[in-house]
């Protein structure tokens, strides 16, 4: 759908396109941070491409990478040709890609959101303030090293020892069911849930000994046995056929 865009970019800009990829028809080019604005300007202005529709601009945190921790990605579309393209650049912590808000007006707020959530600054942005969070907030919450349970209340919480809640609302507020003990998992443990949930549920289930895992294993065993049985039956039928044919 947008291979034409990739071809045009590689033909016109050559080695400024560092990498191209195609995932199920979604085409992507990677450029260096210094070329970020220029390539975007080319996408918009080129008479063949006419990428006039700014879809989104966002970032991805890769804390495991040695250098260039963030990916900043731009998604753009051409309303004349229907082409879509994704442009990506690797940004190091503290590095500042140029703003695209002079090319597409809509990039203004998207870049503010990226600053708010990831702490990536955009050079020459007209108004780089937090957009979703409040100015008192410290840090950038979508960085993977931001503590998952760290809240920064604007109003200090009331200090009530006996708030008098009854089930279903326990003392342990909230429902941290999505929390995974990543540290333990990366260290090789197979704890599937966070210690908080384990305590809450009075158990610490692991994948290897859970009932669900045993049931799945039993189902797999039964299917394999059935397939083996059917295979044997088919073989014997074949043999009988050949025998009768002779």
């Amino acid at each position: 759908m947008s291979q034409a865009v990739v071809d045009r970019l590689t033909a016109e800009l050559g080695d400024r396109i560092l990498e191209t990829s195609d995932a199920f028809g979604e085409h992507e080019v990677r450029v260096a941070v210094k070329d970020w604005v220029d390539v975007a300007q080319f996408l918009k202005d080129d008479e063949e491409l006419q990428m006039d529709h700014f879809i989104d601009l966002t970032a991805i945190d890769h804390p495991e990478r040695e250098s260039a921790r963030f990916d900043v990605t731009l998604m753009a579309r051409s309303s004349a040709n229907g082409h879509r393209i994704r442009m990506r650049t690797h940004v190091d912590d503290g590095q500042e890609p140029g703003t695209l808000s002079r090319i597409w007006e809509g990039a203004n707020w998207a870049e503010r959101e990226v600053w708010d959530m990831f702490g990536i600054k955009f050079k020459d942005h007209p108004d780089l303030r937090r957009i979703l969070l409040y100015e008192e907030f410290v840090g950038h919450p979508l960085r993977k090293d931001y503590p998952i349970d760290k809240a920064q209340p604007l109003v200090p919480y009331r200090e009530v020892t006996d708030i008098g809640k009854l089930p279903p609302f326990g003392i342990e507020e909230g429902q941290p069911f999505a929390r995974i003990d990543w540290e333990a998992r990366l260290a090789g443990g197979d704890n599937q849930v966070s210690p908080a949930i384990g305590v809450q549920q009075g158990q610490r289930r692991t994948l290897s000994d859970s009932e669900a895992a045993q049931q799945i294993q039993a189902r797999i065993d039964a299917r394999l046995a059935k397939e083996a049985e059917e295979g044997a039956a088919a073989e014997s039928a074949d043999a009988a056929e050949q025998g009768s044919g002779d």
Partner: protein
């Protein structure tokens, strides 16, 4: 209405009670509400406020869009950290006596929003009288909450309560099919 005493008989009868009981009785049947609606629970709030459930039966049908004129603050939906100061200020602007209903799981305990954005229960910021569990709660649960609140007002009891789940009548007509009783 507390303890009622009937005096006299025949053509002229007088009924006496305590002044505080009379006041609480008047309060519980005229609850002007301030809906602080922030999220999807608002849909169920609208359903409750619509004619089918006839919330006027409880004297609580009149919304007042100024906190200074209202008695009950309905916190309907998720309260983000950024909204904390607003909801706190609205509560402070209400005149006493005032009550707070936490409508739905998010307002009660934060629901599944367990992160940097959301206040885990509006009771972290303001005191709550009645919690309505549910995501969202059915209008029947909301009516139960109103009746609980009326009981609390009449008894002058400020301890928080949670609306209990309704008992499901398995043998109710229309619930079972193809079974003869």
């Amino acid at each position: 209405m507390g303890e009622l005493k009937v005096i006299g008989g025949g053509g002229e009868v007088a009924v006496t009670t305590r002044l505080s009981d009379l006041l609480q009785w008047a309060r519980k049947w005229s609850l002007f509400q301030y809906p602080f609606v922030t999220a999807c629970c608002g849909m169920e709030f609208m359903a409750t406020a619509a004619p089918r459930y006839d919330i006027a039966r409880f004297g609580a049908e009149a919304p007042r869009f100024s906190p200074r004129q209202s008695d009950v603050l309905w916190v309907v939906g998720t309260i983000s950290q950024r909204q904390g100061p607003a909801v706190r200020r609205i509560w402070e602007q209400m005149a006493d006596p005032k009550w707070v209903i936490a409508f739905g799981t998010c307002a009660s305990c934060g629901g599944f929003y367990d992160n940097y954005t959301t206040i885990p229960g509006v009771d972290k910021v303001i005191p709550v009288d009645v919690y309505i569990p549910g995501c969202p709660p059915r209008p029947e649960a909301v009516l139960d909450a109103l009746m609980l609140l009326q009981e609390k007002i009449q008894a002058n009891d400020r301890r928080p309560v949670v609306v209990p789940p309704r008992q499901i009548l398995h043998n109710a007509p229309g619930r079972t099919r193809g079974e003869s009783s």
